[in-house]
């Protein structure tokens, strides 16, 4: 990429602001809930605005960069906002803001709120850093911080299940992070500290043995985060254990960060040509294809709603890896857009799941009979997000699957359509029965429930983020082809990968 980069402080601000928020969250907690809520929401919203401004700038052809400081004589901490990072940053910041606002209601009266909010906003800082990192070491710093400092959120409930899930989470993530570190050390040794560049920084002269070692270290390392089967073990445990707003960002952004990492490695460290030469992509296609179907099948049997959604995340995020593994422009666009679309669909579903837990005490699918009567708005949101997840036009899920499908045909892999449609079909099998239960079954009510059978709908402050996420699934679907929408940014990015 030869684009002149503009120096800008905005990417720095995007992670300094939430860091400051994390520092003041605890004292604010002591002051008053209202003040804390407003200040933190203002910070998250500002970050979202910054991300959107940067995204708009990138869409109009600019690239932003900033050298922050020199870590060692060889290495700078360096931020660079390109199309792919801008898209991920926007997605993360907007979803985070929604989840934060939702937390006001959801977390009300919970213990250790200072800690919760502090780490919640802190993780936004690291995520923005991951999105805007301009070289591998900067990426690693933010990636590790955000992997490890989410631990207090995973174990927030401090129940034995949460602690067990947390232990599982941290061990998976640390092993993954260690492999990523190893891969980055190998890359640094082979190529030095280089700005991530579309087209890759490694060359075939390094020798295919070493290149393969680097590739698989990266892939397994990020694959843990991206929840590729068989590295997905932490996902189904961590999601039900964590508070619902955190589950939403965990599924929508954190898992996606693994896929984002894989993409960075594929297109900015190796480059499409070198990957083609190494011939490793077909293995990735198989792994991802298997993950899509396998996780979807497992999802069907889960009675715990958040667990079912977690398996759905594994399945859906594998679409992303499947798309990029084809090394075609359209499929890559589909994959990039799917990260964004999935974030809001899955975010909406988790927000619903949280509302069901809080308002109905229903954590299991079998407890949701007739929920639509008691919580009409939530149930509607759930139904819409489910349809989007399945890929019903004109919702957002359809757009990404359309591009993925086109990409499969374009790269000459029509048989993969079976995986694509099979995954969508399975999504229908694991999501629609829930919708059916909510709308067409009579609620089973205990006598004391009967008195309050109606009017269990959540307060407006909790519904608002859900409504916004649902509207976004419409907007991202109906307006997909408008300029400045994710598809446009994704196309910019994808076209720079395959000149």
């Amino acid at each position: 990429m030869d684009t002149e980069a503009t120096r800008s402080l905005l990417p720095l601000l995007a992670f300094l602001l939430p860091m400051a928020g994390a520092v003041i969250a605890v004292p604010l907690q002591r002051a008053s809930d209202q003040v804390r809520n407003l200040v933190l929401a203002a910070i998250a919203a500002t970050v979202a605005v910054i991300a959107i401004v940067l995204g708009a700038g990138v869409a109009s052809g600019s690239v932003y960069e900033l050298f922050i400081l020199q870590l060692t004589p060889q290495i700078w901490m360096y931020l660079r906002v390109d199309a792919m990072g801008a898209l991920f940053g926007m997605t993360a910041a907007v979803l985070w803001t929604l989840a934060l606002v939702y937390s006001w209601g959801y977390m009300h009266g919970e213990h250790r709120l200072g800690r919760y909010y502090s780490f919640f906003i802190l993780c936004l800082a690291w995520t923005m850093g991951v999105a805007y990192a301009g070289n591998l070491l900067t990426f690693l710093i933010f990636y590790e911080l955000f992997s490890i400092l989410t631990y207090p959120l995973v174990v927030h409930e401090e129940t034995p299940e949460a602690m067990a899930a947390g232990t599982k989470y941290i061990i998976y993530i640390l092993v993954g992070g260690t492999l990523v570190l190893l891969a980055i050390v190998l890359t640094f040794f082979a190529a030095g500290d280089q700005t991530l560049t579309a087209g890759g920084i490694l060359s075939a002269e390094i020798g295919s043995g070493r290149l393969l070692a680097i590739f698989w270290c990266f892939l397994i390392g990020f694959g843990v985060k991206a929840a590729l089967v068989p590295l997905h073990g932490w996902v189904p445990d961590a999601h039900p254990a964590a508070p619902a707003p955190f589950s939403a960002v965990l599924s929508g952004v954190m898992v996606a960060a693994g896929s984002f990492g894989i993409m960075r490695v594929m297109f900015y460290v190796f480059g499409a040509d070198l990957l083609g030469y190494l011939g490793v992509m077909r293995y990735l296609t198989w792994i991802a294809g298997f993950t899509v179907l396998f996780a979807a099948v497992l999802a069907v049997n889960q009675d715990n709603l958040k667990r079912r959604l977690a398996y759905s995340t594994i399945s859906q995020m594998a679409y992303v890896v499947l798309g990029v593994s084809l090394l075609g422009t359209e499929a890559t666009i589909g994959a990039l857009v799917h990260i964004t679309n999935h974030a809001f669909m899955k975010g909406a579903l988790f927000l619903c799941a949280g509302l069901f837990i809080r308002r109905l005490g229903a954590a299991r699918v079998s407890q949701l009979d007739g929920a639509a009567k008691r919580m009409p708005v939530t149930a509607a949101g759930f139904a819409i997000a489910s349809l989007a997840m399945i890929g019903t036009p004109p919702l957002s899920g359809f757009v990404s699957k359309w591009y993925l499908g086109i990409g499969m045909l374009e790269t000459g892999n029509p048989w993969l359509l079976a995986v694509l449609l099979g995954g969508a079909l399975m999504a229908a099998v694991y999501l629609l029965p829930i919708v059916y239960r909510m709308y067409f079954r009579e609620p089973v009510l205990t006598p004391e429930d009967k008195a309050t059978a109606e009017g269990r709908e959540a307060p407006g402050a909790m519904l608002a983020p859900l409504v916004v996420a649902t509207i976004l699934t419409f907007v991202l679907g109906l307006g997909a082809s408008l300029p400045g929408m994710p598809v446009a940014l994704a196309r910019m990015a994808a076209e720079s990968f395959f000149h």
Binding site: L69, L71, T72, E144, L145, E158, M163, I170, V175, V185
Partner: protein
Amino acid sequence: MSDWSPLLAVFLVLPLTAAVLTPAVCRSSSTRGWAWTLVTMLVTSVIGGVLIARVATRGPFSYVVGGWTAPYGIELRFDEFSAVVAIICLLGVLAIVFSRRYAERALQAERIPYYYALLLLNLTGMLGFTVTGDLFNLFVFLEILSLSGYALVAISGEKIAEMAAFKYLVMGAISSLMVLFGTGMLYALTGSLNMADITSRLAGATQTPLIVALGAMTLGFMVKAALFPLHVWLPDAHAIAPSPVSAILSGLVVKVGIIGMLRLYQIAYGSGAVDLAGLNLVLTWLGALAIVMGAFFAVFQDDIKMMLAYSTISNIGYIVMGLGLASTYSVIGASVHVFNHALIKATLFLGAGALIHQTGKRTLTDLAGIGKAMPFTVAAISIGAISIVGIPPTAGFLCKWYIALGAMQAGHPFFGFALVFGALLIFIYYIRMVNAFYFREPRDRAAVDVQEAPATMLIPVLVLAILCLVMGVLGRLPLTFIEPAVERLLMPVGGG
């Protein structure tokens, strides 16, 4: 100012004199002893700062004691590796500040003056050890710091402390003898005790006695550094000593072995008289083993200070592995970790000391849930924990990064692999610790219902925790300093 080098002598004579005078000065009041040692150490630190500034701008320099020029007189030499005095002074000051309240409770009143005197003597020994250019002088300072170290471990006067100190003494005495033995042989071979002089005269020396001499000194220094399997004295001594002393012992005193090793390398590499490949291979393997074994033992500890002591063994493993790999990056990593590990381990030991001081408990089981009562101390410990496992961008990361790179550079990627996965193992017991402090239900609520530590304890801990973060982000500072020194060290063997 034309000649600043006499300052180098003042740098040692001042704290040495003050240490000897301490019991007399503070006969009646422990506060006076505290203030006396603190002021001494602060003045010494200022001098240290001046010396470092000088070496940074004008390169290494010497002071000739009593006007007897080298190789006959004693030479004090301040080079880039001597810049480690910065951390000795810093930790010295903070440990003394921390001691004020800690010593009052942990020690009998009549022992407190001796405690401060010994602490100052110990620090002086280390300062002298790092700036001397003379091998016998090196041995003298080694003995000063070792003897004061044994006494400091035993100072609480409990039976168990005496046992630990005795174990430390036996191992330490043997290792000092080895160093003396090696020094004697080098003297016999070259007729000199001055390090620079030995280096120039060593070329063409008979191989067998030279190898025995270097081997004996390496062995001696590695006992001091507690390299696995020579570590057996360390866990008890470091866990049982008063916490400020543990911080000094674990953060600094074990590093004396490493600095000694670096001096030895300066002689051996510089003279080119002997091929150290075999020794380096052994050190690399033992380093890798130490990382794993230290982590392995630590996992089973319930006593927090015991855990930290075993963690030191792992970290010494990193450093020795870095030295053994003998590539530019790995030696840089090892040298930087001498500095950074001192910061991190002092954070952890002083933090643990504050917990023990406030609660009177020292096991993870008893300290469960302490995070709520002492948020600042536990936050500092958590930063230390994240730092010591090398999560970027904390201070511990630099060592991991450089030594892993160095392993590639040396053509032994396996050791890079061992290093990063060893760090993973280490993380396991630090997770246990953080889990216990923050997320577990207290076993006995009354036990953890305490106040946050007093300011004289909290401030040193917080300063250190902040430095753990800052030194990671500003890793460039020590590196720009150490890189040229390491390149110069390895130049004769074509490292790089």
